[in-house]
C-alpha cells in the first residue's frame, strides 16, 4: 500500500495548461473520468453569479456541429454519460464509458467544451427548469437550514456564502445568452484544466485523445481565485426558517473557524471534529442517537476549507418538532463536554485506524478514485500528497488535537439555524 498512488498514477501534460492523472486498475472494461476548468461561480461577473452555472448547464445542449439530440444519441447509443456541473471554483464534468468507446466519448467532450451552441431557446428552457428546481428546494429543510447558516457566517461574495433561493431565482431568470457567450469566450480555455481517469484505461490513449481535442484551444494563465474576504466575526446567532407541513426539522449549529486546509492546525482540528461526529461510532451518534434515541441522523464536520477559504465547523441533526429543544440541548452538552475535556488517547487511536482503513476501502471502485485524484489536483497538491495522507493522520498527537479544540471552538457563540415546522 505504501506509495500506492505515486507508483500507479501516470501524470502528464499532453498540452500546456492541461494536466492528466490516469490510474489503471484491475477492473475490466469500464472507465470513469472527471475533470475541471477554473470557471465556477466565483469567476462569474459580480453582477450575476449564476452566469457560470447556466454556462455549465448549456454544455450538453448542442455544439456547433451537433444538435443536442445528436449529442445525447452519441452517448446513449454506447451507454456512456458525461455530466457537467458548476461549483464555486470550477466547471466540472464526470463521466463513464466502456473501454472501446473512449475515443467517441472524449471526442464529444472536446466539442462540448470548445464549441458549445448557446441557443436562446435552449437557455430559456434551461432557466425554466432551474427555476422549477429552485422552487422545489424551498421545501428542502436541510438545504434551507444550510443556506441560513452560511448567510450568518459569511459576507456576500465570500466563496462559502449562500444566496437565498429567491435571490438565485431572480439571478437565474435574468441571465442572457450574450452573457453566457462572453463568459465562455473569456474563461473556458487551457490553463488549470485537470483531467483524471481510473479503470481499464491506458494513459497513452488518454493523452493522445485529449491532445487531439485541445491542442488548438486557446490558452490563458492559470490564475487561482484571490480570496479577499473573511468570515463575519463569530457571534452566536439564531434563526428559525418555517416551512409548513414538515414532520422533521433540520438543525445546524456552527461557526467559522478562520483557517483553510493548508493551515498546520487543519488536520488536528479535523481529527477532533471526527471524534465528535465523524461517523456512527463517534460521540454524537453514540449518545444522541444510539443512547437517547433523539434523532435518526447527527454528525459534525469541517467544510469550506479548500482553495484558501477560511472554513467552518458545523454540527447537523434532524429532530421531530417536539424533540427539537431536547435534542439541541443534548447536542450542546456533548459539544461542551468535548470542548472542556477534549478527546482521549483511546479515541484518537481508534479514529486513526478508522481513517487509515477507510483510505484502503476507498480504493474499491473507479468512481471514487477519479474524484479523489481530481480533487487533489484541483487543490494544487502533488500526487504524493495522496500517499502522505495516512502518514499525516498517524503523526497527529493528542495534545495538539486538544489544543486546537480550545483554540478554534467557541461553544458559547455557536450560530443556530433550524428549518421545518415548529411546534410553537
Amino acid at each position: 500500500m505504501r506509495n500506492y498512488f505515486s507508483k500507479k498514477i501516470v501524470v502528464d501534460e499532453p498540452q500546456k495548461g492541461l494536466s492528466t492523472f490516469v490510474l489503471p486498475t484491475g477492473v475490466k472494461e469500464v472507465i470513469t473520468f472527471a475533470g475541471s476548468l477554473p470557471c465556477g461561480t466565483l469567476y462569474s461577473p459580480r453582477k450575476n453569479s449564476e452566469i457560470s452555472s447556466l454556462a455549465a448547464g448549456m454544455l450538453d445542449k448542442g455544439t456547433k456541429n451537433k444538435d443536442k439530440f445528436e449529442v445525447s444519441d452519441i452517448l446513449e447509443s454506447v451507454g456512456a454519460e458525461i455530466n457537467f456541473f458548476n461549483t464555486a471554483h470550477h466547471v466540472q464534468f464526470t463521466g463513464y464509458c466502456l473501454k472501446n468507446d473512449l475515443d467517441t466519448v472524449l471526442c464529444l467532450l472536446g466539442e462540448q467544451l470548445r464549441t458549445p451552441l448557446f441557443l436562446e431557446k435552449e437557455l430559456s428552457t434551461l432557466k425554466k427548469r432551474l427555476v422549477g428546481n429552485l422552487e422545489r428546494s424551498k421545501e428542502d429543510t436541510k438545504k434551507q437550514a444550510m443556506i441560513g447558516l452560511l448567510r450568518k457566517l459569511y459576507p456576500p461574495h465570500h466563496p462559502n456564502y449562500a444566496l437565498t433561493t429567491d435571490e438565485k431565482i431572480e439571478l437565474v431568470s435574468s441571465v442572457r445568452t450574450k452573457e453566457i457567450k462572453t463568459f465562455h469566450k473569456n474563461t473556458y480555455r487551457l490553463g488549470g484544466f485537470n483531467f483524471s481517469a481510473a479503470g481499464d484505461v491506458s494513459p497513452d490513449t488518454i493523452n493522445k485523445l485529449l491532445k487531439e481535442q485541445f491542442s488548438r484551444w486557446k490558452k490563458g494563465p492559470d490564475i487561482p481565485y484571490r480570496l479577499d474576504l473573511k468570515a463575519r466575526p463569530i457571534k452566536g446567532k439564531k434563526r428559525r426558517i418555517p416551512i409548513p407541513d414538515k414532520q422533521s426539522i433540520d438543525m445546524y449549529l456552527g461557526q467559522a473557524i478562520g483557517i483553510n486546509r493548508r493551515h498546520k492546525d487543519y488536520y488536528p482540528l479535523k481529527m477532533a471534529i471526527y471524534v465528535l461526529g465523524g461517523n456512527f461510532s463517534a460521540r454524537l451518534m453514540q449518545t444522541i442517537r444510539d443512547e437517547a434515541g433523539l434523532t435518526y441522523g447527527i454528525g459534525s464536520s469541517l467544510s469550506g476549507t479548500g482553495f484558501g477559504s477560511d472554513g467552518y465547523w458545523s454540527t447537523w441533526a434532524t429532530f421531530a418538532p417536539d424533540l427539537l429543544e431536547k435534542g439541541k440541548r443534548a447536542t450542546r452538552n456533548q459539544i461542551k463536554e468535548w470542548y472542556n475535556n477534549g478527546i482521549t488517547e483511546k479515541e484518537l487511536k481508534e479514529k486513526k485506524t478508522t481513517i487509515m482503513g477507510a483510505y484502503k476501502v476507498g480504493l474499491d471502485s473507479t468512481g471514487g478514485l477519479a474524484a479523489r485524484i481530481l480533487s487533489n489536483a484541483q487543490q494544487r497538491e502533488k500526487i504524493e500528497h495522496l500517499d502522505k495522507y495516512p502518514e499525516i493522520i498517524k503523526n497527529i498527537s493528542l495534545d495538539k488535537v486538544n489544543k486546537t479544540i480550545k483554540k478554534y471552538i467557541k461553544p458559547k457563540q455557536l450560530t443556530f439555524v433550524a428549518a421545518g415546522t415548529f411546534d410553537d
Binding site: 477492473v27 469500464v30 446513449e76 427548469r129 421545501e139 422533521s248 437517547a292 441522523g297 484502503k360
Partner: protein, 433 residues
C-alpha cells in the same frame, strides 16, 4: 462448469457457478455461500442476506423487519458495549464501511473491509445471526430513531406520493405498505413481536453469505464454517408468505395535497414477479421511455420545459411489481397535460412498437450498467443481494444474456400486456401554497 470439476471444500457442498460466481452450501446448517475472488484492490465485501423483508409483515407490525434490523446493531453475545466490542466500533475502527438495509423481500447486513480484517466481519455476522440481544430497553430509544427516519421520509413529497401509489395499487399483498411501515406500528410493535420475528427468520437455512473481492477462497470458507457452523438449521420450516393480490378491475387514482412548491405526477402499472421472462423486456422499455435525453418522455416533457426531471423504475421484486414513471413538474405545468403525454407515449408503443435504434440504445445503456455493476466488490455484492431477494442469484450473472435476446416485438408485447388502463394507478402531488 459442472460440480464434478470443482475442488471439494471441506464441510461445503458445491452447488453451481455462473459468471465467475460460485455457490456453496454449508452442509451442517444449509447456509448458502456465494464467492467471487477479485484482487484488484485490497478490499473485501462480506454480506449476509436474510430472505425476509417487509413482505413478511402484516397489519400491526408493519416496519418490524426494519426496526429489527436497527436492533441488530445493539449487541450480541460476543460483540457488545459491555465487553467493549460493540459492533459499530469493532468495524468502523478498522475503517470498514458498514451498514444494513431492509426492503420488500430481503434484509442485508454488510461490511466493506480492508482484506486483512475479513475474519472480524464474518465473526460479527455469525454471532448476531443467532445471538442478538434484542432487549426492550434498546427498542425504546431505537423506536424514536426509526420514527425520525419515517418523519424525514414524510418531509419529502416524492416519498409520500410513492408510498401512497403502492398502497393504492396493492390492497391485499403486503407490498401495500412501505418498508418503513406505518407510524403507529413503528411506535407500538412490542419487543416480544420483534424477537418472534427474529426467531422465525434469522437462521442459516434462510440466509446467504456473500464474499466478494480480495480474499482466498479456501481460507474464507473455513472461516465461514468455523463461525456460522456454530449454528444449527432452524427446527421449523421457514413460513411462506401466501397472500396474493386480487386482479385489479379498473384504474385507480390518488391525490396528495400538502404544503409544497411544485407538483409531481406518478403513473404506475402492475408488473409480474421479477423472475418472469417479461422482466427483461420491461427493463428495456423503461430505458426507451425515460433513460437519457434521447428517451421518448424526456424529449416530450423535460426538453420543452414542462418538467424539471423525470424517471421511471420497475424494480424486479419477488412477487409482483410496478412500472412507475415519475414526472417533477415546472411551476406552471398542469398535472393533466403531463399525464396525458405519458399515456399517449405508452399507447403509441402499444400501437406502433419501437424503432430498432431505440432498442439498440437501451441495450447499450444496460450493457454499461451491467459492466459498472462489477466496479468494486460492494457493487457486485449489492447487485447479487437484489437478485437473491427475488429468488435466484443468477438473475444477476445472466441478466445481459437475456437482455440481448429482447426483440422489438417483445417490447410491444409487454407494453400491450402491462401498460393497460385497468392495471393503472396514478398519483398526483398537488402543492398547497
Amino acid at each position: 462448469m459442472s460440480p464434478k470439476n470443482k475442488k471439494k471444500e471441506p464441510g461445503f457442498k458445491f452447488i453451481k457457478a455462473s459468471g465467475g460466481i460460485e455457490e456453496y452450501r454449508l452442509s451442517s446448517n444449509g447456509l448458502r455461500v456465494l464467492t467471487l475472488e477479485e484482487h484488484s484492490a485490497p478490499v473485501t465485501t462480506f454480506m449476509v442476506t436474510y430472505h425476509v423483508g417487509s413482505r413478511n409483515e402484516a397489519i400491526g407490525h408493519t416496519g418490524a423487519t426494519h426496526l429489527l434490523e436497527h436492533l441488530m446493531f445493539k449487541g450480541s453475545k460476543k460483540f457488545n458495549k459491555e465487553k467493549n466490542t460493540a459492533i459499530w466500533s469493532e468495524l468502523q475502527n478498522i475503517g470498514a464501511q458498514i451498514n444494513a438495509t431492509t426492503w420488500n423481500d430481503r434484509t442485508n447486513y454488510f461490511e466493506v473491509v480492508p482484506s486483512e480484517h475479513l475474519e472480524r466481519a464474518i465473526a460479527i455476522e455469525a454471532d448476531r445471526m443467532r445471538n442478538a440481544f434484542l432487549k426492550d430497553e434498546d427498542r425504546q430509544p431505537e423506536m424514536t430513531v426509526v420514527r425520525n427516519e419515517f418523519e424525514r421520509g414524510e418531509n419529502n413529497p416524492f416519498d409520500v406520493l410513492d408510498k401512497n401509489i403502492w398502497a393504492t395499487a396493492y390492497q391485499a399483498h403486503p407490498y401495500h405498505h412501505s418498508t418503513i411501515g406505518w407510524r403507529s406500528d413503528i411506535e407500538n410493535v412490542s419487543t416480544k413481536r420483534l424477537q418472534e420475528f427474529y426467531n422465525t427468520y434469522y437462521w442459516p437455512n434462510n440466509a446467504t453469505a456473500t464474499v466478494i473481492g480480495d480474499f482466498e477462497k479456501k481460507q474464507t470458507l473455513a472461516l465461514i464454517k468455523k463461525y456460522f457452523g456454530e449454528h444449527g438449521r432452524s427446527q421449523h420450516t421457514i413460513p411462506k408468505m401466501y397472500t396474493e393480490e386480487p386482479t385489479q378491475e379498473g384504474p385507480r387514482r390518488i391525490m396528495i395535497k400538502r404544503a409544497g412548491q411544485t407538483g409531481i405526477v406518478g403513473i404506475g402499472h402492475k408488473t409480474p414477479e421479477g423472475l418472469n421472462q417479461d422482466t427483461y423486456a420491461l427493463q428495456a422499455l423503461g430505458k426507451i421511455l425515460t433513460e437519457g435525453k434521447s428517451s421518448r418522455l424526456y424529449k416530450r416533457i423535460v426538453d420543452p420545459g414542462l418538467a424539471t426531471s423525470l424517471f421511471m423504475y420497475d424494480f424486479p421484486f419477488k412477487d409482483c411489481g410496478m412500472f412507475i414513471s415519475y414526472v417533477f413538474l415546472t411551476p406552471e405545468t398542469d398535472h393533466n397535460s403531463v399525464e396525458e403525454i405519458v399515456l399517449e407515449e405508452y399507447r403509441q408503443i402499444i400501437k406502433e412498437g419501437i424503432k430498432q435504434k431505440e432498442l439498440d440504445r437501451a441495450k447499450a445503456q444496460i450493457k454499461a450498467n451491467v459492466a459498472f455493476s462489477r466496479d468494486g466488490s460492494y457493487a457486485v455484492a449489492s447487485a447479487l443481494n437484489e437478485a437473491l431477494a427475488i429468488g435466484d442469484w443468477t438473475f444477476y450473472s445472466t441478466f445481459m444474456d437475456h437482455i440481448i435476446k429482447v426483440s422489438r416485438k417483445d417490447i410491444q408485447r409487454v407494453a400491450e400486456k402491462y401498460l393497460i388502463e385497468d392495471q393503472n394507478t396514478t398519483g398526483w402531488f398537488i402543492p398547497q401554497n
